[in-house]
């Protein structure tokens, strides 16, 4: 619990520091607070946090996911620091505070043992983000993103709530263990099945599975890139962490009413996502579709849940998150020197910023699933987790990986092999050391964990 308390305190401090004359300390303070909470998390024992009516429980899985989310948030704040050097932002404290609040919601999503907490977690995670999405006040796209995210998000939440009500009606309990016991019976009532179905649909919204994905590209494009990084990584992890736990707990996979829907949605997500990513002309939208495809891959882990799968699932999402943060920091850099978000913005980056683009290149290779990176291991474990009876799923992963090469390599090729004199060459602005740090951190961890996955996988045991 102390993790959440520390983060909350940091958020409040940040808000106050912002009012009093301490703006330049806001960002470092937020990073410091998060680092502190990370250390506390490492020291904490796994225990039922009994003071809260046994409603939250820190499992090892939750601990790893919480740690990952905290680290991702720290990286996002580092990217934010690079922006503050360039422009005066009078609202920075508010934004950081909101992000920290939503991080608390994410942690609740990993630790809930009661579906009320699940609902609270979703709301605490989402509401600050509706504000963050439209935080670029004078930008029409940002406003559109905020409104769209708010409408879609609240619809999804209410559908989840409806499903929860039905489940409660059928099982007469809000406790996740009791519900799980009920769902492991051979026969379950229609009401419970319908409830599970609605909860599932709500979560498909949250994780941006097709056909519930329409908000994703618009929100990623409209939201200021720094916060879009947060959306693409931490929010994704949080939604998936909760969904995965719920899916496992709803038990009895073969009979699960969600199973058939899940299979259908995976196929749609991977196929449509991959093909749509192929025709995008804007790097941020491409990343949005790539995140949708990755959602499809992550959903595939749900098909054969077992105890090992948890750690592989974690590895996959870690690889996805680190790589996405790396690419987003390149986008933030390009925006800061006035380049467009189109692929041509990347042209010549390899020559003007060799080391920085090496890091970005590693992130791209990892997303594409090239060996020696976490991305490869993630896909490898994904393939291992599928049995050969599900050969069409394997085919889907393979085909999508092949096509994904084409769209990831558009950035890659632009950076290294373009002859065009794009503005990245003309403008020799140095990359901020903070961005360099973020990209370096992402690239190095992708390679180190890609070579020695034990570092990460053993934490789960």
């Amino acid at each position: 619990m102390s993790v959440i308390i520390v983060i909350l305190l940091t958020a409040i401090l940040v808000l106050f520091l912002h009012i009093f004359e301490g703006r330049q300390w806001v960002n470092p303070l937020a990073i410091l607070g998060l680092s502190l909470s990370f250390i506390i998390l490492c020291l904490e024992n796994n225990s039922l946090w009994g003071d809260y009516s046994s409603m939250i429980y820190m499992t090892q899985f939750a601990k790893v996911f919480t740690g990952t989310a905290i680290i991702f948030t720290i990286l996002v704040f580092f990217i934010n620091q690079s922006r503050l050097k360039l422009e005066e932002d009078t609202n920075n404290g508010d934004k950081l505070g909101l992000v920290l609040f939503s991080l608390c919601g994410a942690i609740l999503l990993f630790t809930f043992t009661n579906i009320t907490m699940l609902f609270l977690g979703i709301e605490i995670l989402s509401i600050p983000l509706y504000v963050i999405a439209s935080s670029s006040k004078h930008d029409l796209h940002s406003n559109e993103a905020g409104l769209k995210y708010f409408l879609m998000g609240s619809f999804a939440t209410s559908i989840i709530l409806f499903g929860m009500a039905l489940i409660f009606g059928a099982t007469n309990s809000l406790d996740i263990m009791t519900i799980s016991e009920y769902f492991s019976q051979a026969e379950i009532s229609k009401m419970a099945a319908l409830g599970a179905f609605f909860v599932g649909i709500g979560f498909f919204f949250k994780v941006a599975a097709i056909p519930f994905h329409f908000w994703t590209p618009d929100v990623y494009e409209g939201t200021p890139s720094i916060w879009a990084t947060y959306f693409a990584t931490v929010v994704k992890i949080a939604s998936f962490g909760a969904f995965f736990r719920l899916y496992i707990l709803l038990g009895n996979v073969d009979n699960s009413p969600l199973y058939k829907v899940l299979v259908l949605i995976i196929i749609l997500t991977v196929v449509v996502g991959t093909l749509t990513a192929l025709v995008q002309e804007n790097a941020k939208r491409m990343i949005a579709y790539s995140s949708i495809v990755n959602s499809g891959f992550l959903l595939m882990f749900f098909l054969n849940p077992s105890s090992d799968i948890l750690s592989y699932f974690g590895l996959f999402i870690l690889g996805y998150g680190l790589a996405t943060i790396g690419i987003f920091s390149a986008i933030v850099y390009l925006e800061s020197i006035g380049n467009s978000n189109g692929f041509e913005g990347f042209d010549g980056l390899g020559r003007s910023q060799p080391l920085f683009s090496l890091g970005v290149a590693i992130c791209l290779l990892s997303l594409a699933g090239i060996p020696l990176t976490v991305g490869f291991l993630g896909k490898f474990y994904l393939l291992m987790s599928l049995s050969f009876d599900q050969w069409w799923m394997i085919l889907l992963v393979i085909a999508s990986s092949i096509i994904s090469i084409v769209y990831y390599f558009r950035i890659f090729n632009g950076m290294y092999f373009s002859n065009k004199k794009a503005s990245a060459i003309v403008a020799p602005e140095v990359v901020s050391p903070y961005l360099n740090f973020v990209v370096g951190f992402c690239a190095l961890s992708l390679i180190i964990i890609g070579l020695f996955p034990d570092f990460y996988l053993n934490i789960f045991q």
Binding site: I370, F376, M384, S387, I394, I402, I405, N413, F417, L451
Partner: protein
């Protein structure tokens, strides 16, 4: 011992970035000599020539059912020797060309790392990883320093090989999954499984597609000629000289163990047919080309078809001939690519119609070229002959008809190679040749003499190579 072959290239490839620019040359010389002598030491330390010479195992992760299992036996020794030799030669060529870009050396060293890994690793997952690793540096080399429409061509090459290798990965995954509890990806376990004939066929097909794209075998070859032509000369050398051998080597190590049962027998027949079509088709296309690099690309396609067909007969002469020819083909094709590069550098073109009469201007280049061309056309007492003879023998033992068509390779090869030689070196001196610079530096002489010695020495003593693999091949074939 063996881990050195993998670690040193990796260390060098990272180190070259840190070193100051004026040291690049010395570091590269040191590295090439060092890797050659390390290889020499490995060979010297082989105490018994029975299978396998060395085995080393390094466990990376307890969560992966796989480890870095390195095995050196007769089959891997030959491509490993070839790799060390050619990488050193290619580095010297670059030094002779005054190439100063650090990243080129770094990428070639990375390539060296991947290639050594492919040839040494006896763990399916490790093999796959190294196989993919080789793709990254060659992609960079072709895309940065290539010519013409290099981007779409390189991407096509990348996609082809990537699709192929993913098919291979799925086969390996299947072989792993059907093992009883506690299995792993090591070569001993992965092929030690019971499968239905259909499953065996599909697994073999998956692995074959992965290998066939790299080789390339007819039907999977669409990327090849364009990529060879648009790549810089050292890129073509790496592709034709060594990377192609990855596919052939894979046939020995990773394809042959799954081949059993009636369906696979059919598959074997179809593969051999494809190879033979490639032999004839490549040769005919080569005759019609005017770009020197394209001629070499199709000649290589044609030659490799014969090697693959020989290996697929799973006979003693086919395997031994295949190994010998792998080495020889690597040496000859790289030598020829170097000559083409020298011609292009000195006379500014590699178009057959724009060249001519180089022999009167530059007699040494003509002599070296003649010997290499004869080696490629498999004249007796040159290095091409014994391997081709063994391969054709294996074809005859397999079936008369295939041998009949495969046998035409020698005629075809003579046609396009002699046409090439005649048009480039003989006849009236063209304008370009007269205006070009017709001298060879001592290091260029040195490099070319190594190739020429290779042609002559291996032509007279093929046993030097055949002896290395004899016991391993016998061992493998009796087990099968």
């Amino acid at each position: 011992m063996l881990i050195g072959l993998i670690l040193f290239p990796l260390i060098f490839s990272l180190m070259i970035f840190i070193l100051p620019k004026n040291l690049t040359k010395y570091a590269t010389i040191f590295y090439s000599v060092f890797s050659l002598s390390w290889m020499g030491m490995v060979v010297k330390n082989i105490s018994s020539w029975t299978n396998p010479f060395f085995t080393e195992n390094y466990v990376f992760s307890s969560n992966l059912p796989s480890s870095l299992l390195l095995v050196l036996d007769g089959i891997s020794l030959i491509p490993i020797l070839l790799t060390q030799l050619l990488i050193a030669l290619i580095l010297w060529m670059l030094l002779a060309n005054q190439k100063e870009d650090k990243s080129t050396y770094s990428l070639i060293a990375l390539m060296h790392f991947g290639l050594n890994g492919v040839f040494l690793c006896a763990d399916a997952l490790g093999f796959y990883i190294f196989w993919e690793v080789t793709l990254i540096p060659i992609y960079f080399i072709c895309a940065i320093w290539g010519e013409g429409k290099r981007m779409p061509i390189t991407l096509k090459f990348f996609l082809y090989t990537f699709i192929g290798s993913l098919c291979m990965l799925v086969s390996f995954l299947y072989l792993y999954q059907i093992q009883p509890e506690g299995g792993n990806f090591s070569i001993a376990n992965i092929f030690n499984v019971d499968m239905s004939a259909t499953a065996r066929f599909l697994v073999a097909l998956g692995i074959f597609i992965g290998l066939a794209v790299k080789i390339p075998i007819f039907g999977f070859h669409n990327w090849q000629a364009d990529t060879y032509t648009s790549a810089p000369f050292y890129g073509s050398m790496l592709l034709a000289g060594i990377m192609l051998k990855m596919g052939l080597y894979g046939m020995y190590r990773w394809l042959s163990p799954v081949f059993a049962g009636p369906l696979c027998c059919d598959l074997q027949w179809y593969i051999i047919i494809l190879c033979i079509i490639g032999v004839v088709y490549g040769a005919i296309i080569a005759i019609t080309q005017t770009d020197l690099k394209r001629i070499l690309a199709f000649s290589s396609f044609s030659h490799v078809g014969l090697i693959a067909a020989g290996i697929m007969t799973f006979s003693h002469s086919g395997w031994q001939g295949g190994l010998l020819q792998m080495f020889v083909h690597g040496l000859n094709i790289v030598g020829l690519f170097y000559i083409v590069n020298l011609i292009e550098q000195k006379y500014g073109s590699r178009d057959l119609n724009k060249l001519g009469g180089i022999a009167t201007q530059n007699k040494w280049l003509a002599i070296y070229g003649m010997i290499l061309v004869l080696g490629t056309t498999a004249l007796p007492l040159t290095n091409g002959f014994p391997g081709e003879f063994l391969l054709l023998k294996s074809m005859f033992e397999y079936q008369f008809l295939t041998a009949l068509f495969a046998g035409t390779t020698i005629i075809w090869c003579a046609v396009y190679m002699l046409r090439l030689y005649q048009k480039v070196f003989f006849g009236e001196e063209s304008k370009l040749v007269l205006s070009g610079d017709s001298s060879l530096s001592s290091i260029e002489h040195f490099i070319l003499i190594i190739f020429v010695l290779g042609v002559l020495v291996l032509g007279i003593f093929p046993q030097l190579i055949l002896g290395l693999s004899e016991s391993t091949v016998l061992n493998y074939l009796t087990q099968k």
